[in-house]
Symmetry: C2
Subunit: 366 residues, 2 copies
């Protein structure tokens, strides 16, 4: 069996590594040169609008999937006429556009932050007056905090409007959250669904800094699973989905969806019975899903811009090192480090040592 993947970054790389043992081959398309999946699988450098080229590269694949939602919809639609396309065209369409996404979530009675589509600068003043702290977002092509401006004072509206006004925009109320969570969920072709435990995420400058398997009350877990179930059903979804949520102490408010494996699920490689990558592969290849429970306390630290030394991380018990073999660049995700422990005391102690070692290592090297 063979999977065609649109995108050839680290998510495709880890998907390929998870597919090999199942005797499932992968092939990727990416418009960029020397992407990091190419260490481990064949990658064709093609633009997403080169439909003929992609179909040619994908002629012997059995299914097509994505590692990013920022694939032109027209490309996905083309693929879907030729091959089974997962997770779903609708999911891709909605997650490419914050307005469609929010309208979709509202239509399922899933809580989202108050928002409006922005038509003019005046709308923004009005919305700010009601909600006090808001964030201006481009409807399309935002990730890792790009295309977002936070506004907490009317004096900042004009500048923000100038910067982003050429694009289609929405404005949202900033949720005064206590915690950020994500749910990684998966549904296979036969309709079997599995849910990983909620993960507690910390962002820095809009980029995921770390994820930790949470030990939240089962009510919250079940609430999040209910969101996933509704979304799965409504979109005829197959594969892994990620739901990013704010928790304000009362309610889980969905921030955004990612129709794919996700950075906040990297801990599952060693920390769950079955990794998100293997389960996505199983899901779209018609295989039974694997269990999603965690096998201990789990923490993932994201390597952004620079990776710490391997040995310095691995000297801490229960640590796993993942480099994507990418060149250093500010704000670029280069790898991640996972810590697993059976007992809370070990977990806390080892986490402290790991973070100290990472800190020392990053400050030691130039």
């Amino acid at each position: 069996m063979k999977i065609g993947i649109l995108g050839g970054g680290q998510l495709a790389r880890m998907m390929a590594l998870a597919a090999y043992p199942l005797n499932i081959q992968t092939i990727c398309i990416d418009p960029n040169k020397d992407v990091c999946a190419s260490d481990v699988t064949k990658v064709h450098q093609l633009n997403y609008d080169d439909h003929a080229g992609i179909m040619n590269a994908f002629q012997d694949v059995d299914v097509v999937t994505i590692e990013t939602e920022n694939i032109p919809l027209s490309c996905a639609i083309q693929m879907a006429t030729q091959k089974p396309f997962y997770p779903s065209l609708k999911a891709l369409e909605f997650t490419q556009d914050r307005l469609l996404e929010k309208n979709f979530l509202q239509s399922l009675n899933i809580p989202v932050a108050p928002f409006i589509e922005l038509k003019c600068e005046n709308d923004l003043y009005d919305f700010l007056q009601t909600h006090h702290v808001v964030v201006l977002k481009t409807r399309r092509f935002g990730y890792d905090g790009k295309g977002q401006i936070r506004i907490d004072d009317a004096s900042k509206v004009a500048d923000a409007w100038q910067i982003l006004k050429e694009q289609s925009l929405i404005v949202e109320k900033v949720i005064a959250f206590k915690q950020e969570f994500s749910l990684i969920a998966v549904k296979n072709i036969d309709g079997e669904c599995r849910y990983y435990p909620l993960v507690h995420n910390v962002h820095q400058h809009g980029i995921l800094h770390s994820s930790e398997v949470s030990n939240v009350h089962s009510d919250l877990q079940l609430k999040a699973q209910l969101y996933a179930e509704k979304i799965f059903k409504s979109l005829d979804y197959v594969g892994v989905i990620t739901i990013e949520m704010f928790y304000d102490g009362h309610e889980l408010i969905v921030n955004e969806l990612a129709p794919r494996v996700h950075n906040s699920g990297h801990w599952t490689i060693e920390g769950a019975v079955t990794s998100q990558f293997e389960n996505h592969v199983r899901a779209i290849c018609g295989l039974p899903l694997g269990e999603t429970s965690n096998i201990g306390y789990a923490y993932m630290w994201n390597g952004v811009g620079k990776m710490p030394e391997t040995a310095s991380c691995l000297s801490v018990p229960g640590v796993y090192y993942h480099s994507y073999n990418k060149a250093e660049r500010a704000n670029r995700k280069l790898g991640h480090v996972t810590l697993i422990a059976d007992h809370l005391e070990d977990f806390n102690g080892n986490k402290k040592t790991l973070l100290q070692n990472i800190h020392d290592s990053l400050n030691r090297s130039p």
Copy 2:
């Protein structure tokens, strides 16, 4: 960092898969075409006596290692003049020759079955008279039961002698063992050692059928570790070693050594905190070793000659499927299936279901 591997079969394949996340690249040499490591890493098809060709392919590697002990010693010696060669030339020399291996083990006071070097047919008659059930073995290039003839009656001596007499031979007493165990142990460049729990192995027709993490008395575990320590020390060893042993109810008698990752350690991929493959890579690349404890009950079934259907195996909880993407052939190792469970009851129940599913699957397809 980059590892040159002599051999491009499934052990090299799984080593390469374990190396990628550590940002360690691999490159293999194999005299055969289309070997299974080539799915996941670069493999050069070269004969082991093409030293110049190999050195050329390996010019940018940092260390050289092996996936089989059946590499001409002259090749390994050549490599060792140019690059750090692990696990050790001596280990390679001894494990290539059953006579040297047994003499070596005896020199360390490690128990082995009674044996003699065979010079003539009469020696065989004499040895049989003393030991009643014996096995004739070629000194070199035996694996998976090849080059071995069991003799339990003087009438069988002449035929066996005719078949094998052209080769250098030893004859051993057949141990009336209760169980077969193996110990996977690892030592890194800094001298740090780790030991996996003893594994209980079952062979069929000389080929490993299954391995299960044993729950033996700690005395046996420590005894086996003592053997490993002596061997490590004596050989200046770096990397994973496997010690195959018979247990007769009293003593652990070493059958043979494998200076490499081993089939009886495949369960460690999901069943141990760190897999044998990752630990071998860490060991030879100067990294700290990972923990070797098992994370639950673990069983590995070997796919020999034919693999069962993926879905039929994965429908059982806690099962992991590993295909090496090799063509079917009698007695060929094509993959393995691992079962992990937290609780003994689940383990036993799931094992029964898994074996039934495997049986049904193998009998269903033609």
